[in-house]
């Protein structure tokens, strides 16, 4: 019998609204007991002393690019999940913009099988349309049988509203969420950074925030009309947030996520042409950032998601306009939240863990997100006081394109436990 006891930690579990010092006994991959003091254990029970630490249900990232198959030079399922567990994640949902695209039974099967041998739980997100072309629907039903938990054409956005309609109607049979990367390509074409003061100063073509907002508005209307759920990925602007708020007030089936970088950086940080701050959607204004921060706290924004998007260093070292969009985030998301939200008292541990674990599990109907007795033993133990510097040495993923490079963050993961097994941290 595989037994593990986590002692003396402060258990923060939003699923049961628990926030106190408790011991957790794990048996056969399941949370067996959560008590004030668990002393009677067998000799074979492994004990982890979590004194001074936060014990959280395992973190869940609903937006990861593992780049496997096809772009293993940037990341693969092993390196990506190694980075995930180092960052405290026990589950990742991976996006389908691989080569080939995850739009078929065989490609989904490949990810699921390889995921089983990786460091954490990997759930693929299937493509909405074949080859992400925005034309014909991919085999959603058959992919669901193989284990997809949502669909998305992330990185691409279906421009044709009739096709979007078909997708939303078709998905209703399967109870799967559609994750939308909202971008009107006619408005964003050629753009490199947010359209505004910075794009004008740098002479870079701009991506106006309305290129996001018009698609979000369209999709809210479609969602309402067809009574079909839509989850908006990586929202970036104040105006987008305002119309999402209105939709949520009307109790429409709308949810959304925000990334750590959109919560922490703004367009002014790009004045030095740092391509590690180049992503889609682009960093917006400080007013946008502040609105996102408020929406993240008050719950209009449901979850935090990394949009972990690895790119090789030499790709990012090119001219800003030639460098690819995207930044890595799995290893820094939690520490960034600790430094910029918890230590600053903007949000509580309970709120952050809710947005990073319990809510994502609810949204995508996943096991996890809870430390109640009987839950799968996915646990993250966090030392809140430790500080570390993000650099190419401390990051372990294949790609190092982090917006936090050379910055000091706070909070370290001591142990990451998946189904009762320690997958990261000292045994």
């Amino acid at each position: 019998m595989n037994k593990l006891l986590i002692k003396n930690g402060r258990v923060v579990d939003p699923s049961s609204n628990t926030n106190k010092n408790l011991d957790i006994l794990i048996e056969n991959g399941i949370v067996k007991k959560v008590r004030k003091k668990i002393t009677r254990v067998t000799k074979s029970t492994k004990v982890l002393d979590a004194k001074g630490c936060i014990v959280s249900p395992g973190l869940i990232d609903a937006h990861t690019h593992l780049r496997d198959p096809g772009y293993e030079d940037k990341e693969d399922i092993y390196s990506g999940t190694a980075a995930a567990v180092k960052g405290g994640f026990t589950t990742v949902l991976c996006m389908p913009n691989t080569e080939p695209v995850l739009d078929s039974v065989s490609s989904i099967r490949y990810v699921v099988e390889k995921g089983k041998e990786s460091f954490c739980k990997v759930y693929p997100i299937g493509a909405i349309t074949k080859n992400l072309e925005g034309k014909e629907l991919a085999e959603t039903g058959r992919m669901m049988m193989e284990g997809i938990v949502a669909v998305s054409d992330d990185g691409n956005c279906i421009q044709n509203s009739a096709i979007m309609r078909n997708a939303l109607e078709y998905l209703k049979m399967f109870n799967l969420k559609l994750i939308e990367h909202a971008e009107d390509y006619n408005l964003s074409k050629g753009g490199q950074v947010n359209e505004g003061y910075v794009s004008t100063a740098l002479g870079l073509p701009g991506i106006p925030s309305i290129s996001e907002t018009v698609i979000v508005a369209r999709d809210i209307l479609l969602s309402e009309y067809f009574d079909a759920p839509v989850h908006f990925a990586h929202i970036s602007s104040k105006r987008t947030l305002e119309i999402l708020k209105t939709a949520k007030k009307k109790k429409l089936k709308i949810t959304c996520e925000v990334t750590p970088h959109h919560l922490i950086f703004n367009e002014n940080d790009i004045m030095g042409f740092d391509s590690n701050l180049k992503m889609k959607p682009p960093l917006r204004t400080e007013a946008d950032r502040r609105a996102l921060e408020a929406g993240f706290k008050d719950g209009v924004i449901d979850i935090l998601a990394t949009d972990h998007a690895p790119h090789r260093i030499d790709e990012k070292e090119r001219e800003f306009s030639l460098a690819p969009f995207g930044v890595v985030g799995l290893e820094t998301a939690l520490s960034a939240m600790v430094k910029y939200f918890i230590k600053t008292k903007k949000m509580t541990w309970m709120e952050i863990i809710d947005r990073m674990s319990t809510r994502p599990a609810e949204l995508f109907d996943l096991e996890g997100g809870s430390l109640m007795e009987g839950a799968p033993a996915d646990v993250t133990v966090i030392h809140p006081g430790c500080k570390w510097v993000v650099n190419t040495e401390t990051l372990i993923g294949k790609s190092k394109n982090s917006p936090f490079l050379n910055m000091e963050l706070e909070g370290c993961v001591l142990w990451t436990i998946v189904d009762g097994n320690i997958v990261y941290g000292q045994e």
Partner: protein
């Protein structure tokens, strides 16, 4: 005793120069202009130095101007040309410039169609980088030669009204000119079709108008910018004809300016589009002089950046 080498100076944007340095470069350019008027137009100021002209975008005047400037300072000049489209596939910019630097070049004059490229190169090499235009971002030597032309004719910048008319959005010249001119006390008015004025441009310490008469009225300097015919295809202008009707600098409009107005243009000009042909050849026009001044200013600048350095 060791003599400390001067720290490497780059010129990427006008931000890299203080106001005093700008004036110093303009003053020094006067004596270099005098050199250009001599029989033997050459001084040994940069003898033994190597200047690489790194042009990733087609350019005739800027390249020739820099080449002459460097040669008249007795520097060795090496030309490197590549199209940006071939760059996408071939060797990266980083590797290209490192290779060239390994051949012991001192100055890289760089022209590139993407913003930020000069700054990127400055990160990878030890030599000085002189930005000869990077996309729509910055073109400081053009601004300096424009400023020299104004300085020579007007004696200063304080209180001058400078109207810049045309495609503001896609112009690197205008960004550098705004910075230099406003810092030295000139008042800059921008004018162009609303689709060719970038968002938030009014935050750059300038005033903005769609009315060309208003822009030109009482101006000390009127500067036209080139209108690319492709703006019509991009849907930013209905026709070139309509542009000309609303924004062309013509005799009638120019008569609203101060009597001693200077008419400038970075070139190449589209006669009959942004400037009426006879106005371009009128007594107000200093367009040809700008070209001459370009060589003198670039000599002054090269001398400022790498001349007289002790090892």
């Amino acid at each position: 005793m060791t003599v400390k080498a001067k720290a490497v100076r780059h010129l990427i944007t006008m931000d890299d120069l203080t106001n005093d340095e700008i004036i110093m470069i303009l003053e020094e350019a006067k004596s270099f202009k005098e050199v250009l008027g001599r029989d033997i137009k050459k001084v040994p100021a940069l003898r033994g130095k190597t200047v690489v002209l790194l042009f990733f975008e087609a350019s005739t005047r800027t390249k020739i101007s820099f080449e002459l400037a460097a040669k008249r300072l007795s520097a060795d000049v090496v030309n490197f040309s590549a199209s940006t489209s071939s760059l996408k596939k071939s060797e990266s910019l980083k590797d290209t410039v490192r290779t060239l630097e390994a051949m012991a070049a001192d100055v890289f004059v760089m022209r590139h169609s993407y913003p930020g490229s000069a700054q990127l190169v400055a990160k990878y090499i030890k030599g000085a980088v002189l930005n000869g235009g990077d996309g729509a971002h910055s073109h400081p030597t053009q601004a300096l030669l424009d400023m020299y032309t104004i300085y020579e004719k007007k004696g200063g910048f304080k209180g001058l009204k400078v109207a810049i008319i045309g495609d503001i959005k896609h112009s690197r010249v205008v960004r550098s000119n705004i910075e230099g001119l406003t810092r030295l006390g000139a008042e800059v008015v921008l004018c162009g079709p609303s689709t060719l004025l970038p968002r938030y441009i009014e935050k750059f310490n300038v005033s903005v108008t769609y009315n060309v008469e208003e822009a030109i009225t009482d101006a000390d300097v009127v500067m036209g910018l080139r209108i690319q015919f492709e703006r019509q295809k991009q849907g930013l202008l209905p026709t070139i004809l309509e542009y000309a009707q609303f924004f062309q600098i013509n005799r009638e409009r120019l008569s609203l300016a101060k009597p001693d107005v200077l008419l400038m243009h970075p070139g190449p000009i589209n006669r009959g589009v942004e400037i009426e042909s006879e106005v371009a050849d009128s007594v107000y026009s200093v367009i040809d002089e700008q070209v001459t001044n370009g060589v003198a200013v670039r000599m002054s600048l090269l001398y400022f950046l790498v001349g007289g350095k002790d090892e």
